[in-house]
């Protein structure tokens, strides 16, 4: 009985933590090939409501965007921001553990 209760409690805590977690998205960006160019993507994505962090892995041409709880980044928003920076959105996906979005590729 105690084991069952412990397991239930653990699952509950994990679920609450997952629900409270920030939303993270992974964007594949084509055309990005130098550090100085990466700044423009950061600048455009930072204008999206709720964005708290942006990490760019330039070697993989991948941008990781974190939004505060309850905020989402739609594929259209991501595509528009990347386009306004002068680049092309290759892929869009919600990072594992997030609560919305979908993989476009």
């Amino acid at each position: 009985m105690f084991t069952r209760l412990s397991l239930l409690l653990a699952v509950l805590m994990f679920s609450i933590a997952a629900l409270a977690a920030d939303n993270q998205y992974v964007l594949g960006v084509d055309g990005l090939a130098c550090p100085f160019c990466a700044f423009g993507i950061e600048k455009r994505l930072n204008k999206v409501d709720g964005v708290t962090d942006i990490e760019i892995d330039i070697g993989d041409s991948v941008v990781r965007v974190t939004l505060q709880e309850g905020k989402t980044l739609t594929e259209e928003q991501a595509r528009q921001a990347v386009k306004e920076a002068g680049f092309t959105l290759r892929s869009y996906a919600e990072a594992e553990g997030g609560s919305g979005g979908r993989d476009s590729q």
Binding site: F36, G40, E84, R90
Partner: protein
């Protein structure tokens, strides 16, 4: 007659890549790019007047992304000193000036863009004008300075060309064709200029991006080539036989590129020269500076 063209600027933009000319890489919508470049330029001729010209100047450029495809730039040089040493009938004379030069405004539009993972290929027309904002009638004890020595040329000038960029994570190649038509003012016009530029930048650090997270700073080694053809200066109804010509310069250099900053330096050295008569040609041009994103 005394000196040939002394133009400092060559429409170099502020964004990434080449140090001596333009690139087709984008400026994001709403993004500013600021560039400062210290230029030390030494010129001379082989004629009997034994002219030596030395220029110490700061190139100031501000760029802005109107859209992701269209960027505008404003540029103005400040001459700390623009000095001519020349042999005259009474002996050696030194003449110089300083101050702000002519303001240039130009635009660049991305006409073709092919993005792929880890790289891009772009073609962008460039067009602009230079306004006669610099002093064009400075004088010294010998009278009015020769027109090419003035900080400004006194006329509206037009610039048009095309720049193309192929960039990958490992290297970048830029090429440009640019024509500059210099206007006429008070019976004088600097010779028009046609230039063919090419640049190769190769990432030398980090040597590999495998397993490197985030966006590290890149160190590029670069080699640039500038083939410049200048027409003769127009004076009155004729031309100055000792002005203009063709010169080919090579420029090795280094760049350190981060997300927000570029620090860079190059030295342009003449490989071959074919001046008209005893026209002044470049001996060397040192360019060091930085660019800043915001």
């Amino acid at each position: 007659m005394l000196v040939s063209a002394l133009l400092l600027t060559n429409s170099a933009t502020v964004y990434a890549a080449p140090n001596t000319f333009n690139t087709a890489l984008p400026v994001a919508k709403g993004q500013y790019v600021w560039r400062e470049q210290l230029v030390l330029r030494q010129r001379s001729d082989d004629g009997p007047m034994d002219r030596d010209v030395s220029v110490q100047a700061l190139g100031n450029v501000l760029g802005y992304g109107v859209t992701s495809k269209f960027a505008v730039f404003g540029a103005v040089p400040y001459f700390f000193d623009k000095e001519l040493d020349v042999t005259l009938p009474f002996g050696r004379a030194e003449r110089d000036t300083d101050g702000f030069g002519d303001i240039s405004l130009f635009g660049r539009y991305t006409l073709y863009q092919n993005d792929f993972t880890g790289g891009t290929f772009r073609v962008s027309p460039v067009f602009g004008v230079t306004a006669p904002t610099g002093d064009d009638n400075d004088r010294d004890s010998l009278g009015e300075l020769p027109r090419p020595l003035q900080a400004g040329d006194g006329a509206w000038d037009g610039v048009a060309g095309v720049v193309t960029t192929y960039q990958t994570l490992q290297y970048q190649v830029d090429a440009q064709v640019l024509y500059r038509e210099n206007g006429r003012h008070d019976g004088f016009a600097l010779g028009d200029e046609t230039r063919f530029d090419a640049s190769l930048q190769y990432r030398i650090w980090p040597r590999s991006l495998k397993g490197v997270p985030g966006t590290p700073g890149f160190v590029y080694g670069l080699l640039e080539s500038n083939l410049i053809r200048r027409e003769r200066d127009e004076i009155g109804s004729g031309t100055d036989a000792n002005s203009g010509g063709t010169q080919w310069l090579l420029a090795p250099g280094l760049q350190y590129v981060t997300r927000s900053w570029i620090v860079e330096g190059t030295v342009q050295l003449p490989v071959s020269s074919n001046p008209n008569g005893n026209a002044i040609e470049d001996d060397y041009i040192v360019r060091v500076g930085f660019r800043r994103n915001f």
